[in-house]
């Protein structure tokens, strides 16, 4: 079917849904139509249909005045259609042609009578200071300075005047550079050149705008440059209709305006939920494996790194990142944690749902976990079926349409207006890490299918070393304080520890643990004494904050290997029960020790070091 046929069908589809009273499905069809064909004709259609639906859809109302020095009329339907599709019902008043100064300075003007929520001041430099654009060659450097000052003074007057009369948001266009400066190449060499003069105005505008609350700068020069100065301009329409912008570029102006209106109406996404396979990396981790997925600085992996870089930018803007992926948890976590091409790591994600559940359900859970509304989620997934399922189940989610070519994923994300912010707080910039820390602290364990997954996820590092002057006090303190995971609960003062350490055949060891959440410090102690062919464990203890993640096994393994290395055959140890040390009760039998003797005081356990070595847990990295 031709694209024309398709978009005609969409129109019919939308009308059928409207006739059937299915407003949200009609809105989806209109949004789809607008996405496929964002032109003047379509805009008129989309606007007229949304106007029929406006009472049945959760639209934000916004009153906008556009003050302008040129013809913008044809951009208005484009703007209103884009706004409707983004959930904004826009009422627009156009200021009279070139009457912006009077409108601002006259408190009785129709501008204030309209009671706008926001105002756009779209003035072109060519209209405001024609000499700077058209007759630049007539200026001497002083004259340029005067002209620049005059323009800035005008803007300052208008902005201040507006603020005195209205609390509405004000969006000010900056000024566009000429496509070809009057002095040609020479302009770039001149300090008082035309481009430099316009840059000075734009810099000054930045300052003026920053001095007023609720006044924002729209980088019109950047917008024009982005789309190409020569393509942007239509000289013929300028001369015949005072419309300087080419027909096919008007929609870009409308979109740029919309980027401001989305945050101004609060229609923003607070979190971006992404898929993994073929979205965050190329290929399928469960099938292609760590070596096979595409993710590197080279093409094609570079496309996915570029996407990840955009996500890091979004996180810095205060947008939370989350994962919803159909995958085996361990496959996905391995890539997230250790694939060398990953720019994002688990710590960058505030929530994760890596499972085989339906994505709409995962999105609901993520919203609940992050304590935000489902309508604050944006969703990025290469799979159109998943997008469709989410769109149907949760129409309030912002769905990012992925282009066919992964190289374009990054810009699709950058273009999404739901991620725009007009101001930024310090808290915004570190929001993801706050959420991630919270999630990690309280929820890490329950998200893992097996204990081993959890252990690997922790990225533990252990450092085992003999007692040193610097650790003496802490070791003694641990023997004094540790009650739960303490096999013998023998309390030792610092001098006693020092004395034992000095005895031949006696080892006083400490273990220090670090993991992905930070450094836990010195958290465990083992004291052993060689007696004949046996090594006796006098003390083995662990601070409760690291119990249950195999650190105790690591310490025992180290002790047993060291004893074997010293030629011991057996390792023995007592368990002396107290009211509090039940967590340590099964420690020896769990590690292959045999019961030797038992009495009212406790039990003695033995391990044959040749027959039953204690393996070191593979998920802990040992540093000596």
């Amino acid at each position: 079917m031709t694209s024309d046929g398709k978009v005609l069908d969409r129109r019919k589809q939308a009308d059928d849904f409207i006739a059937a009273g299915e407003a949200s499905r009609a809105a989806l069809a209109l949004a789809e139509l607008w996405r496929e064909e964002s032109g003047t004709g379509t805009a008129a259609f989309v606007v007229s249909r949304y106007e029929k639906l406006r009472d049945q859809l959760p639209l934000a109302r916004y009153r906008l005045v556009i003050l302008r020095s040129f013809t913008v009329e044809p951009a208005i339907p484009l703007l209103r259609a884009s706004a409707f599709v983004n959930g904004i019902d826009l009422a627009v008043q156009l200021g009279d042609f070139n009457a912006y100064a009077q409108a601002i300075l006259d408190p009785k003007s129709s501008l204030y009578g309209f009671a706008p929520d926001g105002v756009i001041l779209a003035v072109r430099g060519e209209d405001l200071a024609p000499d700077l654009w058209q007759k630049f060659a007539d200026f001497d450097p002083d004259g340029v300075g005067e002209a620049v000052k005059g323009v800035c003074h005008n803007f300052e007057q208008w902005i201040r005047g507006f603020r005195e009369r209205s609390q509405a948001a004000l969006i000010v266009h900056n000024l566009e550079q000429p496509a070809r400066p009057s002095a040609g190449l020479l302009d770039a060499q001149l300090e008082s050149g035309q481009a430099a003069a316009i840059q000075r105005i734009n810099q000054e505008l930045r300052r003026i705008v920053s001095e007023h609350r609720g006044v924002y700068l729209l980088d019109y020069d950047g917008l024009v440059a982005r789309h190409g100065r020569l393509r942007w301009r239509d000289q013929r329409k300028w001369l015949t209709a005072r419309m300087p912008i080419a027909a096919d570029q008007l929609v870009q102006l409308a979109r740029e305006w919309l980027r401001f209106l989305v945050p101004l109406t609060g229609k923003i996404a607070k979190a971006l939920v992404v898929d993994l396979d073929n979205t965050l990396w190329g290929g399928v981790i469960g099938e292609d494996g760590m070596q096979g997925i595409k993710l590197s600085a080279e093409y094609p992996g570079a496309a996915f790194q570029a996407l990840q870089r955009v996500m890091l930018d979004l996180a810095r803007r205060g947008i939370l990142l989350a994962i919803s992926s159909k995958n085996n948890l361990e496959d996905a976590m391995e890539a997230l944690e250790s694939h060398p091409g990953m720019l994002l790591r688990p710590k960058n994600f505030a929530a994760m749902r890596i499972n085989w559940n339906d994505k709409a359900q995962n999105l609901r859970e993520i919203a609940a976990e992050l304590n935000i509304g489902v309508d604050s989620l944006a969703f990025l997934d290469d799979n159109p079926v998943e997008r469709e399922q989410v769109r149907a189940a949760l129409p309030e989610v912002t769905i990012i349409e992925t282009p066919d070519d992964p190289v374009a994923y990054a810009s699709a994300l950058r273009e999404c207006p739901a991620f725009e912010r007009l101001t930024l707080s310090a808290e915004d910039q570190q929001r993801t890490s706050l959420y991630a820390a919270e999630r990690d602290r309280s929820k890490a364990e329950q998200n893992f299918r097996t204990k081993e997954d959890f252990y690997r996820y922790l990225e533990q590092e252990a450092e085992i070393s003999p007692v040193m002057p610097a650790t003496l006090a802490r070791i003694s303190q641990l023997t004094q304080k540790t009650n739960q995971f303490n096999l013998t609960t023998r309390r030792y003062s610092e001098p006693q520890i020092a004395e034992m350490a000095a005895q031949p055949g006696c080892q006083v060891l400490s273990i220090r643990v670090r993991d992905r959440f930070g450094d836990h410090g010195l958290v465990g102690v083992a004291i052993t004494r060689d007696q004949g062919d046996a090594c006796e464990i006098d003390t083995l203890l662990l601070s409760c904050r690291v119990i249950g993640r195999t650190v105790e096994t690591a310490l025992l393994s180290y002790v047993s290997q060291a004893a074997a290395a010293r030629g011991r055959q057996r390792l023995s140890g007592e368990f002396l029960p107290t009211k509090k040390n039940a967590p340590a009760k099964e420690f020896y039998p769990q590690h292959g020790f045999q019961l030797h003797t038992q009495n009212g005081e406790g039990s003695l356990w033995e391990l044959d070091l040749k027959q039953h070595p204690v393996p070191f847990p593979e998920w802990i990295r040992l540093n000596l």
Partner: protein, 83 residues
């Protein structure tokens, strides 16, 4: 099936003037369609330029007196640009 130029131009007019396509003919003009005012006329020009990827000169815009003439103009433009 590829729509004819007439159908495509009529589709744009239908969108812009909010008139069903079957009520638009080659004779339709600003006189017969109420919402075809000067603003919409500019929109019509822009929509044609977007759709067919050409630019209309002021002289050509003056030839756009009814839908039939517009279709003829578009067909001529398409022939000269593709040939």
């Amino acid at each position: 099936m590829t729509p004819t130029t007439f159908e495509q131009v009529r589709g744009i007019a239908s969108d812009l003037f909010a008139v069903p396509p079957d009520r638009i003919t080659a004779e339709s003009s600003p006189e017969s369609i109420e919402s075809w005012d000067s603003t919409q006329h500019l929109n019509f020009v822009l929509a044609l330029e977007e759709k067919f990827d050409f630019q209309l000169s002021p002289e050509e815009m003056e030839q756009m007196r009814n839908l039939g003439e517009i279709v003829k103009l578009v067909e001529n433009k398409l022939q000269t640009t593709s040939g």
